[in-house]
C-alpha cells in the first residue's frame, strides 16, 4: 500500500509535462479573460451590467470588490496582463501563477456575467493546483534559462501535482456522466440529443452537417446519447491503461473537437481538456523522445557555433543556448581553441569570429551575428515563437545594430572589474593557434 502510494504521488519524475501544460493553461486563461477587457465599460467599470456569484464568494469579499473605483479596476487589468505574461514566459512561475489567479478571482468577483461559467470554475480548480508548486517553471520557461541547467527538461519532482491533474480530469468526466443519469439528469428517461437537434437558431447547438437528419431520427439520437454516456464513463479508464492510452487521448481530443464543432460551449473545454489528457503521457516517454533526437543529432552532423570563450557574457549566453537547444542541434566551440578555423570552413577567419558569433550549419551555410540568431530562431523549436519577430520588416536592421552594440560591450556585460575599459579578456586556456593571443587582447572594435 505504502509502495503504491509512493509510486502514485511521491515518486520523483521529470516535470517537463507540467511546463508544457503551463502554456496551455496560460493560453486558456488569456482566451477566456482577455476578450472581456475589450469592453471595460460594459463589463467591469461603474457603467457595466454586473452580476455576482454569492454561492462562490463570501458576501464581504463581493462588497469589497464592488467598492472598487474605476482606476482600481484599470490597475487590476494591468496586473492581470503582467502576471499572465510572466506566467506564460515562466518567469517566477509559482509567484506569477498565484498572482494571476488572484486577478482572475478579482474579475470573477467584480462581474461573473461573462466569465463566470462552469468551465471557468474548472479552470480555477486547475489554477489552484498549479499554484501549489512551481514545478511548471522547470521547463520551457525563463526560470529554467535563469538557472542555466542543461538538463532542465528532465528535472525530477514529486509526481503528485501531475497525478492530481490527471485525477481531476478523470473525475470530471465520470461525474459529468453520472449527473446525466442521476440527480435530475434525463439522459435515460428523456432524449436530450433529440431535443438539442431541435433547438432554435438562437440556441446552443451550431448548424452542423447532418443536424437536420439527426433531428428526424429520435431513436438514433437516444442511442447516441447512451453511447456518449458509456464513452464518458470509459474514457478515463483508457487513459489509465498504458496500452490503450494513445487511443484514449486521441478519442478524448476528437470528442472535445466534436463538442466545439457542434455546440457553442466555452472553448476552455477545447483548450484545457486535451492538454490535461496529454498529462497522462508518461514524462519518461517524452524524455526518451527528446534524448533520441539528441542522439540523432550527435550521431550525424551538428551545427557549430563559434564564440569567444574568453568573454564571460558569451559563456553565460552559450550556457543558456544549451538550455534552449533541447535537441542538441548546436555544438558551441570556443574559437580560440580551434587550431585551424579554415578546416571548418574555408572562409572562416579568426578576425570574423572575434567580431561576431558565427554559426556553421551542417550544409555548410555560414551566418554571423544577428543573422545567426535569426537562424537559431528557425532551427531551435524552443525559439520558434521568436521567428516571426526576427523576420519582420526592419527587424534585421534594428537587430543588427543591437547585436553590434552588445558585441562591442560584451566584456562589460559581465562582472569582471578588470575589463572596465573593454580592452581585455578573461584569462583563458592557451589557444592552439596564433589567433588566441590576439583574441585575448582584443581591441576597441572587438565584437562577438
Amino acid at each position: 500500500m505504502s509502495a503504491l502510494w509512493h509510486r502514485l504521488f511521491l515518486e520523483r519524475r521529470p516535470s517537463l509535462s507540467l511546463g508544457l501544460f503551463r502554456l496551455a493553461v496560460a493560453w486558456t486563461v488569456g482566451a477566456h479573460m482577455i476578450p472581456s477587457f475589450f469592453h471595460m465599460e460594459d463589463n467591469y467599470l461603474a457603467t457595466a451590467f454586473k452580476t455576482k456569484n454569492p454561492s462562490f464568494f463570501p458576501i464581504w469579499l463581493l462588497r469589497l470588490v464592488e467598492a472598487s473605483p474605476d482606476w482600481v479596476v484599470s490597475l487590476w487589468t494591468g496586473l492581470f496582463f503582467v502576471f499572465l505574461a510572466t506566467f506564460t514566459l515562466g518567469l517566477f512561475s509559482q509567484a506569477s501563477c498565484i498572482l494571476m489567479t488572484l486577478t482572475c478571482y478579482y474579475f470573477y468577483a467584480l462581474n461573473d456575467y461573462h466569465i463566470g461559467t462552469l468551465s471557468f470554475d474548472i479552470l480555477l480548480v486547475t489554477l489552484f493546483l498549479m499554484c501549489v508548486t512551481g514545478y511548471h517553471g522547470d521547463f520551457l520557461s525563463l526560470d529554467s534559462l535563469r538557472r542555466g541547467k542543461r538538463n532542465a527538461y528532465k528535472r525530477p519532482q514529486p509526481y503528485f501535482l501531475q497525478r492530481l491533474l490527471q485525477l481531476q480530469l478523470a473525475w470530471t468526466f465520470w461525474y459529468t456522466a453520472l449527473s446525466k443519469i442521476t440527480a435530475g439528469g434525463n439522459w435515460l428517461t428523456g432524449n436530450p440529443h433529440y431535443h438539442l437537434m431541435h433547438y432554435p437558431p438562437i440556441g446552443v447547438v451550431r448548424d452542423f452537417p447532418f443536424r437536420e437528419w439527426l433531428g428526424q431520427h429520435p431513436g438514433l439520437c437516444y442511442n447516441l446519447g447512451l453511447m456518449l454516456l458509456i464513452f464518458e464513463f470509459s474514457l478515463p479508464l483508457l487513459w489509465c491503461i498504458p496500452r490503450m492510452r494513445a487511443i484514449g487521448i486521441a478519442l478524448g481530443v476528437a470528442f472535445q473537437l466534436m463538442l466545439w464543432v457542434t455546440l457553442h460551449v466555452p472553448t476552455i473545454f477545447l483548450f484545457l481538456f486535451p492538454a490535461m489528457m496529454l498529462l497522462f503521457i508518461r514524462p519518461e516517454t517524452l524524455v526518451q523522445w527528446i534524448e533520441a533526437r539528441q542522439a540523432m543529432h550527435a550521431a550525424g552532423n551538428r551545427a557549430v557555433l563559434l564564440y569567444d570563450g574568453r568573454c564571460g557574457f558569451c559563456q553565460e549566453s552559450v550556457k543558456r543556448l544549451r538550455v534552449v537547444d533541447l535537441f542538441g542541434w548546436v555544438d558551441p566551440l570556443d574559437f580560440h581553441a580551434q587550431p585551424d578555423l579554415s578546416r571548418l570552413h574555408p572562409s572562416l577567419t579568426a578576425e570574423r569570429c572575434r567580431s561576431e558569433m558565427v554559426l556553421l550549419e551542417p550544409d555548410g551555410r555560414l551566418s554571423g551575428g544577428f543573422d545567426a540568431f535569426a537562424r537559431f530562431c528557425r532551427r531551435l523549436p524552443l525559439l520558434w515563437w521568436l521567428a516571426p519577430l526576427v523576420h519582420l520588416p526592419g527587424a534585421g536592421w534594428i537587430g543588427t545594430r543591437i547585436y553590434r552594440w552588445v558585441a562591442a560591450h560584451r566584456y562589460l556585460l559581465h562582472r569582471n572589474p578588470v575589463c572596465a575599459t573593454n580592452q581585455c579578456a578573461l584569462p583563458g586556456p592557451p589557444a592552439g593557434g596564433g589567433n588566441g593571443q590576439n583574441g585575448g587582447q582584443g581591441n576597441g572594435s572587438s565584437k562577438i
Partner: protein
Amino acid sequence: MLLRRNRAITWFVICWTLLFQYETLRASYLNPLVKRELPKLRLLFPPAGWIMFFNVDKAYGFAEVYGIRDGTPTLLDPHDILETKAVGYDNIHRNVLIGTLYPQRARQFCSFLKRKFSGYDAFLVIYAQYPDIVETPERILRRVMYRCE
C-alpha cells in the same frame, strides 16, 4: 527533510481528494441524503458539481429586449446589447442574456440599456419560451418581465 516533504504531500493529496469529492457530490447527492443544505467551501469548485448538459428539456427559454421609440417596439439584436466576443464560440447562443431577466437586476440593466441605446425612449425585457421545441417549434410564449422607462 524528505520525510517531511512526503508527509506534507500526502496530507495535501488526502485533503484535496476529500474536498474534491465532497464538493462534487454535495449539491446533488449529499444534500438530498441528509435533507439539509450542507456548507460549501467558498472560492473553489462550482456550486452544483460537474453538471454539464445533464438535463436537456423540450422547452427552451430565452430573453428578448425591445427598444421603444415613439411608441413602436423594436427587437434589439442581443449581440449589440452584449458586445463582448468570446474566443471560438458565441456567448449569446449560450443564452447569456437570460441572466438579465431577474427583477432584482432590472435597475442596473435598465441603466445599462439607457447608456448603450440612448436613442430609445424605453425598453421592454421579455422572457420568451418555446414550450415544446419538437412538437410546436413555431410557438413562442412571451411575458414582460420588466419595463425600463
